[in-house]
Amino acid sequence: MDLRQALEIVSHTDPGMVRTNNEDSIASIPDKGLVVLADGMGGYNAGEVASGMATTVLTTELRQLLEDHAPNAVDPQSGQKAALKMLQQQIAKANTTIYRAAQSQPQYAGMGTTLVVALFYDNKVMVAHIGDSRLYRMRGNEFSQVSKDHSLLQEQVDAGMLTKEQAKLSSNKNLVTRALGIDPAVEAEIHEYETRPGDIYLLCSDGLSDMVGDEDIGMTLQALGANLNLAAQQLVQMANDNGGRDNISVILIKILREYPAGEGLASKLFGWFR
């Protein structure tokens, strides 16, 4: 099933105003409804090696898997969707790849990356994330953060030590509690959500969310949702205007119309007459 008619996807990545190299990595497979964003960490060029490995492994492997399997198929034994298994397995594979490279090559020692992946199928999106790269959703006038960071700050907020407002003032924004490639195994947080035509999804690295307030991000999507490319550029520009202290990456996905799964004639007709 080709999702290019149902999803508009644009992406933009920028090193920012302070750093010379870009350790973020983004990738998408529009016809399969897959987008991947990774924010690498580790010295010299190791960060971009880690994030690059993450996006490469995930897109290469998932492209093949999605060619052969329907993501919405349910495994009769586990009762789980194929998409879940695919994401879990391929994230594990990416983790192992990065971990082994870090172990075997001294210059890559300790490298790792955050990750946020969104897979669209059957009027749904399955989101997997590790670390503090985020997924937001704009639905109607409501702009909200969908993923919850794996970070010290988020844990402090959850524990009641800080309010969300205080968290903005914290100096400890840069500490994540989970990352890909740091340990032999990692657990991604995976959730599935219904999508609706008109929804705009935003995947971003902390270079955006640390520099631009949620309110301004929401306002930008609201105002420029008709021109997704411009919206992506505007978001990056706002982060840079505010100092651009980190690499900034954004992927925007707009749901143009419904995309129910099913190859049969009946479901196609049903899709038309909705």
């Binding site: 790792g112 959850d158 030590m161 205080q166 100096s171 840069n174 420029l224 411009l230």
Partner: protein, 292 residues
């Protein structure tokens, strides 16, 4: 380094650097900051610094702890906060220099390893690890305690590693060094917030307004206060005016026709607006001008 300035009746008594991750305040002599006054409880309050974030906590004092005039149980200290205990005042100064140049080195994302969180807390600072958690009910004690010990490990380890290639993979060994670790490097981290806050506040000083020149509402004015303002009719023709540090810019968003500025259609990219520019869009004329 961040510090506290102790004063009474406007008279500065002492400057205390926040050199430890846990600083106790009270009347009894074993406190780090001893205030020998009967209005101050034996163990009155404590300041626990988690990396660069200092938290003030009242330890159930008789007369209470006040920050900027309000009674607090637990408070995330911000620069220039004034803590009051009885007649004594403690002013918190986070030694942040806006635009601290080294901040970028410390802003790199780092990992707190979950593996390290499972290890027992550092025996030299068990109270410190427990303190921020004590006031929080319920399930949280494993996570923040671990995170705290770990965060401290990271702060300590951050020092020698700040310019090295690896910033991930802190080992348990560094925890032991935590209590004694100098704070100079964690201090540098404080610079980050101020720098970004300063950057965020760097909105253009000039204010601008749009004035409608045609249509039923001709003569009406609208100030451009938001980072971006859209003009036009959705589905027909829309443009956006963005407010940036460099000034104001108009960009085409949707529609077959581009907005016209001073008689000429603008290009695809953002077009800088000058005082008294006339914009035509979706059949409406507006004038852009800067406010004096």
């Amino acid at each position: 380094m961040a510090k506290l300035i102790l004063s009474m009746d406007g008279l500065v008594l002492k400057e205390i650097p926040l050199s430890k991750e846990r600083i106790t305040i009270g009347r009894k002599p074993h406190n780090d900051i001893q205030i020998d006054n009967l209005a101050v409880s034996g163990e009155h309050a404590v300041i626990v610094t988690i990396l660069a974030d200092p938290f003030l906590e009242d330890l159930g004092s008789t007369n209470g702890t006040f920050v900027n005039g309000k009674t607090v149980k637990k408070h995330f200290l911000q620069n220039n906060d004034v803590v009051e205990l009885g007649k004594y005042k403690l002013k918190y100064i986070s030694d942040v220099l806006p635009g601290a140049t080294k901040a970028a080195d410390f802003e790199k994302t780092m990992v707190l390893r979950p593996g390290a969180m499972r290890k027992p807390p550092d025996p030299t600072a068990p109270a410190a690890a427990a303190a921020p958690v004590a006031a929080v009910p319920g399930h949280v004690d494993t996570v923040p305690t671990g995170a705290h010990a770990d965060a401290a490990a990271l702060a300590a380890a951050g020092a020698p590693r700040s310019h090295a290639d690896t910033q991930i993979g802190i080992t348990a060994a560094s925890v032991a060094a935590t209590a004694a670790a100098p704070r100079s490097h964690t201090d540098t981290q404080v610079g980050i917030t101020a720098a970004s806050v300063a950057a965020a506040a760097a909105a253009p000083a000039r204010r601008a307004t749009l004035k409608l020149l045609s249509g039923a509402n001709a003569g009406k004015e609208m100030e451009l206060t938001k980072p971006l303002t859209t003009l036009g009719k959705p589905g027909v023709q829309v443009a956006v005016i963005t407010r940036r540090p460099q000034g104001f810019f108009i960009t085409h968003v949707e529609g077959a026709n581009k907005p016209i500025v001073n008689g000429n259609p603008i290009e695809l990219q953002a077009h800088a607006l000058n005082d008294r520019d006339v914009i035509e869009l979706a059949g409406v004329k507006v004038e852009f001008f800067f406010k004096p």
